[in-house]
């Protein structure tokens, strides 16, 4: 079997562009997902069942259906309601953000609920409001515990963003498919793409490991 490095060479600039978009999409999704996720996570912890309900179903829907389906729904259903020519990149960013918000909401909830009940009681007994107690006492402790699952979610996002290739968002996987389509070769583009994803995820988990060690010492 011959391996045509010239294909990889030819596509290298495109793979580079693709990697940047892959990282960009994942970053946007984790940032927007965190903001939405905090709100959804807090909403799901409400004492009022009616307030809780929509947040619970948001999480149920986005965790319980394939991301693939969500991307198609967003790109061909949701986005055309606002734009005449929906951009695949925007659609990908939106669907990844909405999806990660559901997972991050659960990370927030688990993190907050893992903090001993006595912490909230002590803060409230000093006259702090619920919001102050959250802001100064509960969240700083919970955030530290959330670093590992959070980094894990980021790694999942990097891999899952490859599904955006189906709506032609020009991320890494898109260029892999383009190369395959042009040369009818399987190994060169797909192995290269897989290798790049592996480098991304491995270096991230190394970073995570380092962060975990650093913060567990404190």
């Amino acid at each position: 079997m011959d391996f045509r490095f010239d294909i990889i060479q030819e596509y290298a600039p495109f793979f580079l562009k693709g990697v940047l978009l892959t990282i960009g999409l994942s970053l946007i999704a984790i940032i927007v997902g965190s903001i939405l996720g905090l709100a959804i996570g807090l909403g799901k912890m409400s004492n009022n069942r009616l307030v809780r309900l929509p947040f619970e179903w948001y999480i149920n829907f986005f965790r319980g259906t394939p991301l693939f389906v969500q991307i198609l729904l967003v790109h061909f259903g949701l986005m055309p309601m606002f734009f005449t020519q929906p951009s695949p990149t925007v659609s990908a960013a939106v669907s990844l953000s909405l999806n990660s918000a559901a997972y991050i909401a659960e990370i927030f909830r688990a993190g907050i609920q893992s903090i001993d009940k006595g912490q909230m009681e002590a803060a409230r007994s000093l006259g702090m409001t619920h919001a102050q107690a959250m802001r100064y006492v509960i969240l700083p402790q919970a955030l530290k515990r959330m670093i590992p699952p959070f980094a894990n979610e980021f790694i999942v996002l990097i891999k899952d963003s490859s599904l955006a290739a189906i709506i032609a968002a020009p991320e890494l996987m898109y260029w892999g498919r383009a190369a395959q389509g042009q040369y009818y070769r399987v190994w060169e583009p797909y192995l290269t793409v897989a290798f790049i994803y592996l480098i991304l995820t491995l270096s991230l988990s190394k970073l995570l490991h380092y962060l975990e060690r650093k913060y567990s010492n404190q």
């Binding site: 912490q119 000093l126 006259g127």
Partner: protein, 240 residues
């Protein structure tokens, strides 16, 4: 200072407070004793509404806790609480633990809060621990910091929920000494404890609770030397 009328509280089907009436005067040290499950901790936690009650009324410093116009956070600023498990904030230094509420709730400038905190740390004998984190403190030290933290708000009443029950025996004394000093300074205190020596020596009044009721109350010598009720007698015979 504190007036409690017909206080009732249930957890699900289990009624833990079955109608409590009590009055605590300013400057008084009231010690609540009783077997576990008697409702004494729940009673104490109702006094700053950490535990919501079903029926009855609690009036603290003129504020009806259940009144819609009462801001419970304002009441809590005046009611300090010390917990069995200390509940210090582990992500903050001892000093920050103490200054957090005065700065965020009372809106004191940081300098003023720090001065007050150092003064209180000196009072509980821990000024050299200002900049360490709680996990490097012994249980007795942690509880003394917790007392200083509650005092930093300048409360009118202090509630103690079994403050020495989680401590190694050799550390109980240092915490009780701080509490005794506080009592001598005229602080109004409500103390749930199993330390009968403390109850007898420091308490102005002892309340014996069992089965969700106040069975008997009186001066320490009334309760310890001359108990009237069978249940008080049998409890005291087990613990003394």
């Amino acid at each position: 200072m504190i007036t409690v009328t017909n206080l009732k509280k249930s957890f699900g089907d289990l009624q833990v407070l079955k109608g409590i009436d009590a009055h605590i005067k300013e400057g008084e040290v009231v010690v609540i004793i009783g077997p576990s499950g008697s409702g004494k901790s729940t009673f104490l936690r109702c006094l700053n509404l950490l535990e919501n009650f079903d029926e009855g009324d609690v009036v603290i410093d003129g504020f009806h806790l259940k009144d819609k116009n009462t801001d419970i956070n304002k009441v809590r600023e005046e009611v300090g609480m010390v917990f069995q498990r200390f509940n210090l904030f582990p992500h903050m230094t001892v000093l920050d633990n103490i200054t957090l509420a005065p700065v965020k709730v009372r809106k004191w400038p940081l300098e003023k809060a720090r001065e007050k905190a150092m003064e209180l740390l000196k009072k509980v004998g821990l000024q050299d621990k200002a900049n360490v984190y709680p996990d490097s403190l012994s249980g007795g030290q942690a509880q003394r910091v917790a007392i200083a933290r509650a005092l930093a708000m300048g409360p009118k009443v202090m509630l103690f929920d079994e403050p020495t029950s989680a401590l190694d025996p050799e550390m109980v004394g240092e915490v009780l000494a701080v509490m005794k000093q506080l009592a001598n300074e005229g602080m109004t205190m409500v103390v749930v404890t199993h330390e009968m020596g403390f109850a007898r020596e420091v308490g102005d009044r002892v309340i014996f609770m069992d089965g969700g009721y106040i069975v008997e109350e009186g001066t320490p010598s009334d309760i310890f030397d001359n108990p009237q009720h069978e249940r008080t007698k049998s409890f005291l015979s087990k613990v003394l």
